[in-house]
């Protein structure tokens, strides 16, 4: 059996058996040396295309999943997803497309202040995570999306957000224009962002930010 076929078999077995998506590096570390994981993945993706189970890349890791058009059959496996309110979805979209983004920036885009619970829900569902702090007065916390978000929506990376490139080209993701509006830059790590201070994730004043009285 050729090495190529054998590498495909091994990657196939590992991904089938895995409880979660695996990166090419994860896979390579499990394979005997000298096998080309990238080619095996490409081969498998082609082989499974159009089948009942397909290979997909999410959050830069690989997984098998059932074909979307067969979702209707999965009556027993289906978990009724927690319904996100319109506000929560819009907030999630703003965070996804503008990250890292501060609470004030989210509110500026929507024209309304974040109601209590909106961000909490997204954090609790692990779609959204704290990314860091903006290097501006008050050093506000910035938010971004998690791998779980990408996995849930089946996105290989943030660059694959639907319509992101068109929006970016139209300047719609660039909140710095016009001068009167604060506009964050969605792509990559913002230059004016500090990493979170140690312990920020559970600092009391931070928790206050979500659950405190001032939550608007």
């Amino acid at each position: 059996m050729s090495d190529g076929i054998e590498a495909e078999r091994m990657v196939e077995a590992l991904l089938f058996a895995a409880a979660g998506p695996m990166s090419a590096a994860d896979l390579a570390s499990r394979l005997p040396e000298g096998f080309d994981v990238g080619r095996a993945l490409a081969g498998l993706r082609a082989r499974y295309a159009g089948r009942g189970v397909e290979l997909e890349c999410v959050a830069e890791r690989w997984r098998f999943r059932t074909a979307p058009d067969l979702g209707y059959l999965m009556t027993e496996e289906r978990e009724e997803p927690r319904r996100l309110s319109k506000a929560a979805l819009e907030t999630l979209a703003i965070i996804a497309y503008h990250q890292p983004v501060t609470r004030a920036e989210i509110e500026a885009v929507r024209g309304v202040s974040l109601s209590r619970g909106t961000l909490d829900v997204l954090l609790e569902m692990n779609f959204v995570r704290l990314r860091g702090r903006r290097r501006t007065p008050g050093r506000p916390v910035t938010y971004g999306t998690s791998d779980a978000f990408l996995e849930h929506f089946g996105l290989a990376s943030l660059a694959d957000l639907p319509g992101a490139s068109e929006m970016k080209a139209a300047g719609l993701l660039d909140l710095s224009i016009p001068a009167g509006f604060e506009v964050p830059d969605p792509s990559g790590r913002s230059l004016d962002e500090d990493p979170l201070d140690p312990g920020d994730e559970d600092a009391p004043e931070f928790a206050m930010d979500f659950v405190g009285e001032g939550d608007g």
């Binding site: 999943r65 496996e77 319109k86 497309y97 024209g111 309304v112 209590r116 639907p162 139209a170």
Partner: protein
């Protein structure tokens, strides 16, 4: 932040509303805030949001607020703030162009463009929501392996035992059982009495040395005594007759044929010689 547009005013208004304990989320007929209402109204113009007639939009919005107030007791403050700001913007847009400079205020057109841009941004996010939610979603439309093996490939309860081992265990026991329970069918023997009787009758005729093989009766059929049994019983009877003095036996060498002959024959011979 633009002094003229002062979007923060909206939020301050909301903040005040919160402080006053008023309803936080303004959701009039499904709208979350003035911007969402404006977006919905702007869409009715069916043009690129950036080419929107802000004057027309302002009129639409004011009409909306008026209608809302007619039907409801109150509107959240930010709706009203937006209404007054739009009324102001509209009036400025309608004024003749060479207008007097009012402080740092940007031209009305710029303010209008800024509003249009804000709406376009919100619209983009609404499209983003549609784009995201129309994607196949995990555990609703697409499903990963229901029974992954990686962490349970071989759970601790897993027993190492192959089918071969099972077969082996079975056969070993059955073999042992076979040996243990092996009961050979009791062979039909040539009774010693019969052999003695027969040999006694034959003895007088055994005048010369005769092999045991030819003396023992031949095997008859499957059911009868075996050849070995005939031989053994005949030998045994023969030895008895030897003891009685009726026969004598000899074997020239170990494992060679055994010969029997009548003692009487010998006596007769001797008598004959003596006579």
């Amino acid at each position: 932040m633009s002094d003229a547009f002062q979007p923060s005013l909206d939020f301050e208004a909301v903040g005040d509303a919160v402080a006053d304990g008023e309803a936080l989320v303004v959701d009039i007929d499904g709208y979350e805030g003035p911007l969402h209402v404006l977006l919905a109204l702007a869409r009715t113009q069916k043009v690129d949001l950036l080419k929107l007639s802000i004057t027309k939009l302002a009129e639409q919005y004011l009409a909306f607020v008026q209608e809302a107030r007619r039907r409801r007791f109150s509107l959240a403050a930010d709706y009203l703030v937006m209404a007054s700001w739009l009324a102001y913007l509209k009036s400025r847009l309608l004024l003749p162009r060479p207008e007097r400079k009012t402080g740092d205020e940007p031209p009305a057109e710029e303010m209008a463009a800024a509003l249009a841009f804000r709406l376009a941004k919100l619209e983009a996010m609404r499209r983003a929501v549609e784009g995201l939610t129309s994607r196949p979603r995990l555990k609703r439309d697409v499903f990963t392996r229901g029974d992954p093996e990686a962490l349970v490939v071989i759970p601790s309860t897993r027993i190492e035992a192959s089918l071969y081992e099972l077969m082996q265990a079975y056969v070993t026991q059955r073999k042992k059982e076979g040996e243990r329970r092996y009961k050979p069918t009791v062979p039909v023997v040539y009774p010693l009495d019969d052999a003695r009787e027969r040999l006694r009758g034959m003895a007088p005729r055994l005048t010369g040395w005769t092999t045991l093989d030819s003396i023992a009766p031949p095997v008859r059929g499957e059911q009868g005594p075996t050849r070995a049994s005939y031989l053994a019983s005949t030998l045994s009877a023969g030895l008895e007759l030897v003891k009685e003095g009726a026969l004598e036996a000899r074997q020239l060498e170990h494992f060679h044929d055994l010969f029997l002959r009548s003692r009487r024959g010998f006596e007769l011979e001797a008598e004959a010689e003596g006579a």
